[in-house]
Amino acid sequence: MKLLSIRAKHFKNLGEDFRLSFIAKAKKTSEDKEYELHEIAEGLYAFNTVAFVGKNASGKTSVLQLLDLVFSVLGDCQVQAKLYPFDGVGLDVIFYHEGFVYRYLTDLRVDARNATRAVFANQALYRKPYFKTNAKSVLDLEGFVQVQSLTPLPDDISIVFFVLKKAVPEAVYFDCDGHGYRTYKLLFDAVERYSISPAVLTKVLRLFDPRLRSLQVNDERSYRLSIGEQTMVFTDYELWNYLSSGTTKGLLLYITVVASLSVGFDVMIDEIENHFHKTLVENVISLYKDKSINRHNATLYFSTHYCELLDLFNRQDNIWICQPGEPVLVKNMYEHFDNRPELLKSKLFYRNAFGTAVDYDDLMAVKTELYK
């Protein structure tokens, strides 16, 4: 399954008719095909990396949360235990799966029996076969035929289950906050679920802290950490206090990236620079762009304040500029701005070509107060 587009209403501050699409619109060079695009079907190209950039309160987190919501529907076929409101949200989603393009519509309501779950109202599922000749019109609503004769499901299970056949996570979402001492359980759950070898875990450990030799599960709530010549047993809480928070957050995220690349599920990271050293951020982005590593078409969606990261992108149609407002404005760099592609994107940001620069007068106003 590959997500092609989202249309949403009533989701947080994204407005009544919020739209995103994830298929290539700009010219596709051979370098782009090598580094920035997945050919998910003949002639149909999706992005391997997608960036959302903007200053604070510009809607970046909301967009990633919306993606998380959509992937919960398409992957788990249900919505539960979210940290953002979903009551009353309308979704109109187009995705590609096994030779067909599907359009799925639903309205989400809070389940009266369990307020942490959603029920699916007004669901409809349509599909059309994909042909290379229709690659450019794949998102057109013409040609879709409703999928009929679906046997009833509980109202908290999405009917996309009939298409995708099983509930499998299609994406993992990382917010800025992390999971505290619970991180290690999530880490070893991922190691087990995706059969990540101890050798890989050891090498990832060393990326974050060269003193660390190994980390293993001791029992349900304790871990054996080898550091230098010593091996110590820590409870999860003790380990959380012992290791730096950056190491703990980074370990889980990097192992998830390893799993994503080896299996093919997508990863969404809010403020990617908050999780890693800049070199590691660049490394993670380049891993998703490396076809010899990213063999199963995984996509990395991330938000960032650091416009320099966008200099890693050759294309512009996989970058969205988020601007504050009511609702927030999320504009595609290729479709909504007219900048020479050869210019460094970070330079364009500093020149305020996208209306995202921090206001100079506001900065000086604070400084003036500090002088007093």
Partner: protein, 176 residues
């Protein structure tokens, strides 16, 4: 010291990857910056930034592979560890290797002023019933079962093109 291998096009990249996979070059993946060759013409390519940043304190030898390498390589100010730059030319086009591989070089020479190697190959080079389609997959399919044919073509190309420019090397020079 690492080698930054820049391939001008996807077909050059496919050929280089084939040679690397079969360990036929003087260097292997571990000798390459980021353990891979790149499809890029210039050091300013965005795809190179993470690799260059992660190896900022080591020397780098750049090898450019392509048919026309007339554009001068631009070294951005922030890169100060380029030790040397060399060129490997595959004039007039990489397709010459395919032409040589089937013994059609003499025949092609008669028409080369009128027909591009690419066009010639689309008429004369095929695997089973599939004619050359300018794709990197074709190179992989064509040579991967018979790497001796690729090695022969690369060496024969050097023999047939003795007058390469002074600062340009041959693919054959990269072979073990």
């Amino acid at each position: 010291m690492k080698i930054l291998l820049l391939c001008e096009g996807p077909n050059e990249l496919a050929v280089i990857n084939l040679l690397l996979e079969h360990r036929l070059l003087k260097f292997d993946y571990s000798d390459l910056l980021d353990m891979r060759p790149f499809h890029a013409r210039q050091l300013t390519s965005p795809q190179l930034i993470p690799a260059l940043n992660s190896y900022a304190d080591g020397d780098i030898d750049v090898i450019r592979i392509g048919d026309r390498l007339s554009d001068k390589i631009i070294i951005p100010l922030w890169i100060n560890n380029i030790h040397g730059i060399s060129k490997v030319c595959t004039l007039s086009e990489l397709e010459i290797l395919l032409i040589i591989s089937v013994g059609l070089w003499s025949d092609f020479r008669k028409v080369k002023s009128k027909i591009q190697p690419k066009v010639y190959c689309k008429k004369h080079i095929k695997i089973n019933k599939r004619f050359y389609d300018n794709s990197s997959q074709f190179y992989r399919d064509y040579f991967s079962d018979c790497m001796e044919r690729l090695i022969f073509s690369i060496k024969e190309y050097k023999r047939l093109h003795p007058k390469q420019k002074k600062d340009e090397g041959y693919l054959a020079d990269l072979l073990k």
